[in-house]
């Protein structure tokens, strides 16, 4: 049975694109469109992987990541932040929040995402 990923991304267009990438490597994907929904979803039914945007309504990706890493139910789930905020401060904020990788949304994003999934043993 395919592993399941939870994608937390508010842009429906970008969510569809990232979902396609994850499904192309055999993962099942469910999507939450804001932080609180994503947190609830992750706690109720912990996925094998969480791909998390930074700019989210209500609660940003850094806060979501910190809460995931503090909750015993979700703290061991790999979190990959996939984001347009690629400056040094944002990168360090994501990693300090506990993200396992911090990938800018550029033309290499899908390739880097898949490489990281392989390295984390998810693929």
């Amino acid at each position: 049975m395919a592993l399941e990923a939870l994608l937390i991304e508010d842009s429906k267009t970008q969510a569809a694109q990232i979902k396609d990438t994850l499904e192309s490597v055999g993962l099942r994907v469910r999507v939450a469109y804001d932080g609180p929904d994503g947190l609830r979803d992750a706690i109720e039914d912990p996925p094998a992987l969480i791909v998390l945007d930074v700019k989210l309504p209500t609660m940003d990706g850094f806060q979501v990541c910190r809460r995931l890493k503090r909750n015993p139910a979700t703290q061991d789930i790999p979190v990959i932040m996939l984001t347009e905020k690629a400056d040094p401060k944002a990168t360090m904020s994501g990693l300090r929040a506990g993200a396992d990788d911090y990938i800018p949304k550029d033309i290499f994003a899908a390739e880097h995402l898949i490489n990281t999934l392989q390295e984390l043993g998810i693929l």
């Binding site: 930074v54 910190r66 040094p88 401060k89 300090r96 490489n115 390295e119």
Partner: protein, 150 residues
Amino acid sequence: MTRASGPYFMQPPVMSVRVEDSMDIMIVRDTVRRAGSLLGFSPANRAQLASAAATLAELVLKTGEPQDLNLNGVRQGEKVGLQVSSEAPWLANVATSNVLIALRSKLGDLVDEILVEGDDPPVIYMVMWLSEAARRDGRRPDEDEDSDEG
């Protein structure tokens, strides 16, 4: 070609990216992640290295003068690391201490070492050591930080 040697013993991988266009920043990130992977850095540490190298590439672009950004493995005793370097002729008449303060302020904790050496032209070197990186991996996440950076 930029002098890439720096203060440490060089070892593969040795890679170079010409920075002359904003698109090259993405290529820098990609190349740094690949070099970091070859040396055994974790994804999180590769993200740090890529961000530091991209910041240096952005500085190069702002000067308007294309430069090579060099990546190479370095060794100091038992320590293995990845070095990112670039000539910085625009720093020729600036005090090294001021340059270092500015770079450290900009790059924060992204890399373990930032050096500026030489004056004809000066060369910026940034190094991340694998042993330090592994220690950082063990420390994450930062439980004390709860501020919203978003």
